[in-house]
Amino acid sequence: MINSPAELEQFRQDILAKRSSEKARISVCAGAGCLATGARKVIDAFNAEIEKEGLESEVCVKGTGCPGFCERGPIVVIDPQQTCYLQVTPQDVPEIVAKTIQQKKVVERLLYCDTVKNEKSVREADIPFYKHQERNIIGNNIKIDPKCIDDYLALGGYSALTKTLFQMTPEEVVDEVKKSGLRGRGGGGFSTGIKWDAARKAPGDTKYVIVNADEGDPGAFMDRAVLEGNPHSILEGLIIGAYAIGSHEGYVYVRQEYPLALENVGVAIKQAQECGFLGRNILGSNFDFDIKVHRGAGAFVCGEETALLLSLEGKPGEPRSRPPYPATSGLWGKPTNINNVETWANVPLIVSNGADWYNQLGTARSKGTKIFSLVGKIKNTGLVEVPMGATLRDIIYKIGDGIPGGKKFKAIQTGGPAGGCIPEEHLDIPVDFDELIKVGAIMGSGGMIVMDEDTCMVDVARYFLNFLTQESCGKCSPCREGVKQMHRILTNITEGRGKEGDIELLEELAMSTGSASLCALGRSAANPVLSTLRYFRHEYETHIKEKRCPSYTCQGLVSYYIDSAKCGACRICERECSSQAVMGGKNLIHIVDQTKCNACGTCFEVCPTKFGAVIRISGEPAPARIPEEARIIVRQRYVPKKAKQAETAV
């Protein structure tokens, strides 16, 4: 139990003193993504190898938080040199230990290699993916074992809390956050300082502060990485916020689909309690505060503040209208302040470094950095932290390294189901809250889904509306009915049943749903439709008028057939077809049985390039089957040159 700031500093110095004597540190990303690709086995392999070589007193191995380069996991960083190895397998471990730990050499084949310039990057910071980022928050993840509070303390953790409790008044804390310009990172983008102020000034002694970790936008996993990888940064932010607002009870509401985040935040809370950062008389300051964890139960709508509050009260998460706002009447009717995970994680940085430091980064009305999840048709899938104002082009091409497979960029979808698709013409806009709204999207929680020429934009709208029909709470008619009707029309269009007037009806439904719905889910439900209509109306018209899908995505509108002139009868497509729709056979031209084919496109993908025999069409029927007799391939008997000469000689 640490009872004063002085004791904390002593404790911190003791940790640092112990660490300076360690010679090397092997950090292996143990985030959910890397664990799914075998990181646990890599960690075990390192531990076994270190033991085998008798190096325990010289090297420590840590499973850490997610550093964000998810495409290339499992990731290993070796300190003090900061050598970064990618896609490490247990089989690589003996070589790494021998070469890098013992011989201080580098294992070249595991380094990042820029395929265009043919340059390798040895240090983590030199890898282009990381180099172009500003990793104020996520940069610490690789340095921290989330189950070890000492790691957080070694980096200066909880010093912002000490400064808050002993050098600042609650009003001063609120002012600092206001001055920093921090805006909510969960999607609302509302001024955090103003929100805190409202809760602080609300009458009442019982107030609550809540971490909204119900990250529901599909394709967004920034909060998961911070919660799993550096839970103490969020706890510290929450305690600071509680002090500023006058709350003594906090909740972390975590979606149940994140078991590792739940585990790590639970461990962090326990360790914080043991050290005295939570509980009564924190660090001897007379301030009491404690935190409980509450699991979500699979409802996207519970990311909405009023729904989240009802869920905390054990009820179905049906949003209620505002006013009153949670700041004056929230959990159990008491003043409550809810902020997103990343918002809370910014708070210790603002307190430690000051609002002036913080608002130097970013644009006029969007300050600081933002973590985005860059996913979809992109080479470097992962988590990207950039200052507000970075361009989409830089994010996609400098950090993301562009589109794989030589495909053409089509659009980037930002903001989740409430957001929109941004085409090539706007890639140079600075990413900030207001600029994204101007082009018909929103920042949302930070999901960025990259789409290429093979993505059908009508299908994208249908996908989001399908998501919303599952997630709408159903309380208010404009959302419940509007979302259902829009989804129905979009499904009809993608399945070849679109008709004249559908686009106009979609626009009318978008207006009523967007204007009259009770909460933000309903009010933004039409955004995917409106934004794809804005930039890709021609795709809708093609689907409706020509019953054709230009990107060959809508399975009901696409057929695959085999060009008999090109088929080499290699039988690969016959084998790979999961519907047994390819009639193959040795030396028989293959045929796609249209009655069994579900247009999944596998045959098109696996047909060897030298044949390129599978043809995909849309908007017209597949040609008639060739007759059975025409299928037989008569192969010339291959005779090697020498044998041929022998033959003719005989």
Binding site: A32, G216, P218, G314, K315, V375, Y463
Partner: protein, 150 residues
């Protein structure tokens, strides 16, 4: 239904009505479904009317009111997985298991569901079987993987 275990779960949350969702999550995790008897017992202990218990149990998708199979399959239908071909993976799973999302097959072997983002987008398309993540799926590979489950 193991009545003692359920009583234990309820008292672990101090019989607080506001812990209803947490209690149901624990029961779901323990028994892989919420039986009518379990719901009735929870309602009695927490003094919550049956209609609210039912609304809560049907509102949240983490809960299943029917028993689950031996292997629970969750196919991720998040946006990133979607653009990488998740619907085709789902179709194969449906074809092979013979069930739709939300269903369990007649032999109680597989339960299928979709989930909106597991947070492993770099591995997309992803599915989770028995809490194990299987990534970079294509229809043929998916078919092959499913054969290994008894």
């Amino acid at each position: 239904m193991n009545k003692e275990k359920i009583e234990q779960i309820i008292s672990g949350h101090h019989c607080e009505a506001s812990s209803l969702i947490q209690i149901l999550l624990d029961i779901q995790s323990e028994f892989h479904w919420l039986s009518p008897e379990a719901l009735e017992l929870v309602g009695e202990r927490l003094k919550i009317p049956a209609s609210r218990i039912r609304h809560t149990a049907t509102f949240y998708k983490a809960f299943s009111l029917v028993p689950k199979g031996r292997h629970e399959i969750n196919v991720c239908m998040g946006t990133a997985c979607h653009v990488r071909g998740a619907p085709r993976v789902l179709e194969v799973v449906q074809q092979i298991t013979g069930i739709q999302p939300g269903e369990t097959d007649i032999d109680m072997k597989f339960s299928l569901d979709t989930v909106n983002c597991l947070g492993c987008c770099a591995l997309g398309p992803v599915m989770e079987i028995d809490e194990q993540h299987l990534g970079k799926l294509v229809p043929a590979k998916t078919a092959e993987l499913l054969k290994h489950y008894e």
